[in-house]
């Protein structure tokens, strides 16, 4: 996952990379695996500066899927910090840049939620529900959005 130049670029630009290796960093691995309940590798967590986990990727993913999950995590962190306009932009980027990944329908859902949070306009939720009529109709996220129609 970390040999793809796009992943390297994303990591360099957007996050602080910390690796704990099961053999080479034995003590740190045990302490942190217990703290974050990460008992399978690879496990990739996005953690904010308070130490709070904002997103988790367990298992190997091809580069596009991995990148989409990293981008989804940055959007989730913005949402968690109640920066809804940034969250909307970041979620929208996930859906537009990685439309064939599992992250895309989730991002489409949360784009609508973020817009609603930013504007308090319920039309954002209705528009999102209708957008699922065009894409990702079979996804769990379409089912979740269906209540907004």
């Amino acid at each position: 996952m970390y040999t793809d130049p796009r992943v390297v670029e994303f990591v360099k630009r957007n996050v602080v990379p910390v690796r704990v290796h099961v053999k080479d960093n034995k003590n740190e691995f045990k302490t942190l695996a217990d703290k974050y309940d990460a008992h399978w590798t690879p496990a990739t967590l996005l953690v904010d500066s308070s130490g709070t986990e904002r997103h988790r990727i367990e298992g190997f993913l091809p580069a596009d899927d991995f990148l989409s999950q990293l981008a989804l995590g940055t959007a989730k962190a913005a949402f968690a910090h109640q920066d809804y306009s940034s969250a909307e932009r970041l979620y929208r980027e996930v859906a537009e840049r990685y439309p064939a990944t599992d992250a895309a329908p989730e991002a489409q859902y949360w784009t609508g939620v973020s817009r609603y949070r930013a504007t308090n306009d319920a039309q954002a939720l209705k528009d999102t529900a209708h957008a699922f009529g065009d894409r990702y109709q079979e996804s769990t996220w379409a089912k979740k959005a269906s209540v907004w129609k």
């Binding site: 690796r19 942190l32 695996a33």
Partner: protein, 32 residues
């Protein structure tokens, strides 16, 4: 090398210095 990630192994230091950035905490068993 432009296409390599420079990994830290010190989460505490990363938490102190990350600022607005997220930390990518990678639990790995891959050959180093």
């Amino acid at each position: 090398m432009p296409h390599e990630i420079s990994w830290s192994h010190d989460l505490d230091n990363a938490l102190r210095t990350a600022g607005d950035k997220l930390i990518l905490l990678d639990f790995s068993a891959a050959p180093m």
